[in-house]
Symmetry: C2
Subunit: 383 residues, 2 copies
């Protein structure tokens, strides 16, 4: 394996009833900004639980953070933080609310153009502390220091991160996820799955424990996904999916191994240009990445086929190919379509994404092999 | 799964050459106590690397921490810390050096009888910050807040822990482990294995991800153990074993699941009474615990047999029994004998340990089923 640093100071409070512990987690006398999305937490009882727990704290509410949260919205909230002298942020919702809250934490007292925090990963300097009550298992943002932000003015969607942006705590109560629409549950499973493959389906690196830790998450997802479809009210299944999502992107399985992330980078562009859900974009792109980068990835794909999908085919190349097909079928079984055409998108996607990669001069993938031309090929394979 | 809290702020710096980064990890101007064991770090080059990295820091050295570190030794070091106005502890060695250093950190400014820190887990109050350069993968102490201390005056060996005792950082350079004697390597593999089984071979808890994360470590150990015996100089194998040891006891696989620890509790007594190495004591006791608690553990044992040992036997009870036999054989293959008689110990061990359990009024195991009488039966099954 390669050398690595690992540091993750997020405190996790997992299980039913943990929201009531909020008062012990936030400094006494803190002036809190509660951030939230469109209002689903008002109808599913989460907002009521949170506000009851926060009795006695000074609290301002900021609703309206959108899916694929906007830079512009974050700036509004940051201005509110300055006006209200906020000194603690509590994100109540899914990964979008939390990602926005991380940018609010960095932007409130940032001295400079706040877009630099995202586009150039400028060091934020003084940040506001934040915690979260997570209601949607998917992004893993609850246990990492990363955030993905979209900018309406330019149609961009970019990720950034900084160690100051680790949540102080994350409350994961699986009961809060029971009211999620099936589409969000399905997207969350795909997102979790692809977070793992970005760190696992690369080239062999003699890191057998990390491989098996990655496979642990994939195997659990494969077992639990049909259960949540068959019995969406079964709390233990929800708990297991929630813990998978957190473990998939807290840095652990990425320790000392090559990482790809080209599926996410291409997927972000599909969301930015065409409005695909994040999970949908990943389900479309991943099979193409695995096919087009097959020479480099085939050894790990063969291992993945055997250990995760139980494919007994002796020929490793055939097993690797079968593993790609099985993965795409899994996304479809989960309920997420896997072709651009399923979303009414044609070859223009390949041109647009390639043009943007070219303009930025970027190349993604574990060996920097996904440049504009490769991104074009990947998307053309997904029509 | 059960509700849980997880928090682990230890920074890991893994890989060759990481010792050179020490100056960036210790506060400028700190007065350091370097703690170490019998002097092997002087002959294997580690001490030289560390002292070179610490050029310019005020440093006092405290050598002589023994395997199964003594309370009495820790008190000497704590007195030295007070005399020298030490404000940072750097443990250079294996788990014994690190465990002792945790007690030194807690005892230096403790206001009261320092044995209460161990025997009653008294809150330490002000502690000294500590870091470690680990040279022996085994105890997992580098990424947790626990410590096990022996007391010469009373022949006791007890564990304690406190969140203040997490190391600030742990440098894990697998090259430092190349000079370990085979006996320590073998003991470390057994210790790591049993740390996992204490958190995994209990009763089913519908925690499939934690199960698979535990199996990930066991499968890796089973694959890597013969490699380190065949080719002890192969650095990647050492790296994999080192990362397994850390992952086995950093709290992750224990999240939300029942835990046993009776093998450790009985093993500590064998060490205290008869001087067995810690790994030896575990190799003796574990098969007995698994046999005597078979009714409760059989479902997980059957899963363990299938997933870790690849036992195809269809009958679950037979598969579970075969898994116990296979585990004992593994310890022997690693080079650690598994019967009391192998160490010249007879049934007196059962009497002594039972008497101590009875005197303390303790019962261990995931359901508190390992009382004095059960401990006696377990040891009598291991003659």
């Amino acid at each position: 394996m390669e050398n690595f640093d690992y540091f993750n100071p997020v405190r996790i409070l997992f299980g039913e009833g943990q929201i009531a512990r909020l008062p012990s987690l936030i400094p006494t006398g803190a002036r809190i900004l509660l951030t939230a999305g469109g209002g689903s937490i008002r109808t599913n009882g989460v907002f009521e639980q949170v506000t009851r727990a926060l009795t006695g704290f000074s609290r301002t509410d900021f609703f309206g953070i959108e899916a694929n949260p906007l830079f512009e919205t974050c700036l509004e909230a940051a201005a509110l933080c300055r006006r209200e002298k906020i000194d603690f942020l509590l994100a109540v919702g899914g990964g979008s609310v939390l990602d926005a809250t991380k940018l609010i934490a960095a932007a409130t007292h940032f001295d400079g153009d706040p877009w630099d925090l995202v586009s150039r990963e400028a060091a934020p300097g003084r940040t506001l502390p934040l915690g979260t009550v997570l209601t949607l298992p998917a992004t893993g943002s609850e246990m990492n220091a990363f955030s993905v932000i979209s900018r309406a003015a330019t149609g961009e969607k970019l990720g950034f991160g900084s160690p100051e942006l680790y949540p102080r705590f994350a409350i994961l109560d699986p009961r809060t996820t029971l009211s999620l629409p099936p589409r969000q549950v399905a997207n969350g499973i795909v997102d979790t799955f692809v977070h793992v493959t970005e760190q696992y389906l690369t080239r062999p690196a003699d890191a057998p424990l990390q491989d098996r830790q990655a496979e642990a998450i994939l195997l659990t997802l494969v077992d639990e996904a049909p259960k949540v479809r068959a019995n969406p009210d079964h709390l233990p299944t929800r708990a297991n999916l929630m813990w998978c999502a957190t473990q998939a992107l807290n840095g652990l399985i990425g320790c000392g191994v090559p990482q790809d992330w080209s599926t996410h980078m291409i997927g972000h562009e599909l969301t930015a240009f065409f409005g695909l859900d994040h999970g949908q974009s990943l389900a479309v792109v991943l099979p193409g990445v695995l096919e087009l980068l097959f020479p480099e990835k085939s050894a790990k794909l063969a291992q993945f086929g055997e250990r995760v999908w139980g494919i007994r085919e002796v020929n490793a190349t055939a097993r690797a190919r079968a593993a790609i097909a099985r993965t795409e079928a899994f996304f479809q079984e989960v309920g997420v379509a896997t072709r651009l055409g399923d979303y009414g998108i044609g070859s223009e996607a390949a041109d647009k994404v390639a043009a943007r990669f070219a303009a930025r001069g970027v190349a993604h993938g574990e060996s920097g092999q996904v440049d504009a031309e490769m991104a074009r090929k990947i998307l053309l394979s997904r029509l």
